[in-house]
């Protein structure tokens, strides 16, 4: 399909795809980690000041 240059072209697209995949995994896994820690803090009763003020206003 790409003649004599197939190796160079496929390697270029391969490296790009791999780098993008690493970036996608990095943001997704980091996001999951932060959400998990935040949920654990809420479970322990630790809330942000603004959340506590809101809760107090509602009660």
């Amino acid at each position: 399909m790409f003649g004599n240059y197939a190796g160079f072209i496929l390697a270029s697209y391969g490296v790009t795809a791999a780098t993008i995949l690493v970036l996608i995994l990095w943001v997704l896994l980091d996001g999951r980690k932060q959400t998990k820690i935040l949920a654990q803090l809420h479970e322990r009763g630790v809330h942000r000041r603004s959340e506590r003020t809101k809760a107090a206003t509602h009660s």
Partner: protein, 272 residues
């Protein structure tokens, strides 16, 4: 008067991280779908539909990822420089969040640009690498990105880290015009600009259109990843402040208990 003030109020409203996160939740899925569609169309045009170059043959297909990666590498740094001004001059609450989230993305696209350039250089120039002005200045940009990322991790307080990184980012911006004009200022192996020139693009539409579609696709991809990384950074900072708050509460509780125990009138022994 009220109507003219409304848009600026809305933009300022986005400076609030909570509102910004709410907006991200709304736009993220449509943005991801659009990115996948544009990159899919771009890949079809780049790999199948576009013609081979009369001199470079099929290797011209490397251009459709190499050039957008190079543009994004410079775009990300320019955006970080504007964010640095936002941090130092306007003290915008999301400015250093934006810069911190963009740095690894910029570094990754710089790496893609250098690697794909190398894969293109070998069959066309006969070498993987030359220390010419364009390639070397691009390598310096990668080193600057890595330095900024390292500096962020070296300083624990994100506010202090943001300020230090902002100063270094402004200093490092000098590399962007050097990269852009390196092919005009010095005699290099790298070809001069062929898209953004004063005379207009020096490329046929059969190659220019796929290149532009891929560039839009890469920019959308960068935007999606940047927004998601910004959201992660906002959550990380919330967690840090909540953990510090919890630690302060425990410390003040311990101090109160210790004071109570030390005081003879209020201590447990006084009641007996």
């Amino acid at each position: 008067m009220t109507e003219t003030k409304q848009p600026s109020f809305r933009i300022r409203g986005l400076a609030n991280p909570t509102r910004f996160l709410a907006l991200l939740d709304k736009i993220m899925i449509p943005l991801v779908i659009l990115t996948v569609v544009v990159i899919g169309v771009g890949l079809y045009m780049a790999l199948i539909d576009s013609p081979e170059d009369y001199q470079q043959g099929a290797t011209v297909r490397i251009m459709y990822i190499h050039v957008p990666a190079a543009w994004l590498a410079m775009f990300a740094y320019t955006m970080m420089t504007i964010s640095a001004l936002g941090t130092l001059v306007w003290k915008h609450p999301l400015a250093d969040v934006s810069a911190k989230a963009a740095a690894p993305l910029g570094a990754a696209f710089t790496f893609v640009c250098l690697t794909t350039g190398s894969f293109w250089g070998k069959p066309m120039w006969g070498t993987w690498w030359v220390w010419d002005a364009r390639l070397t200045s691009m390598l310096i940009l990668l080193i600057i990105y890595l330095g900024l990322i390292a500096l962020w991790h070296a300083i624990e307080d994100p506010i202090k880290a943001g300020k230090a990184v902002a100063i270094l980012t402004l200093v490092g911006f000098i590399i962007i015009p050097i990269i852009k004009f390196s092919v005009d200022w010095w005699s290099t192996l790298h070809q001069p600009a062929s898209v953004f020139t004063l005379e207009g693009p020096k490329m046929d539409n059969s190659m220019l259109i796929p290149l532009m579609v891929m560039a839009i696709g890469f920019t959308l991809l960068f935007t999606v990843l940047h927004f998601k990384a910004m959201k992660n950074e906002i959550l990380r900072r919330r967690i840090r402040s909540m953990q510090m708050q919890a630690a302060r509460q425990v410390a003040s509780g311990n101090r109160a208990a210790a004071t109570q125990a030390a005081s003879p009138s209020t201590g447990p022994s006084a009641s007996h």
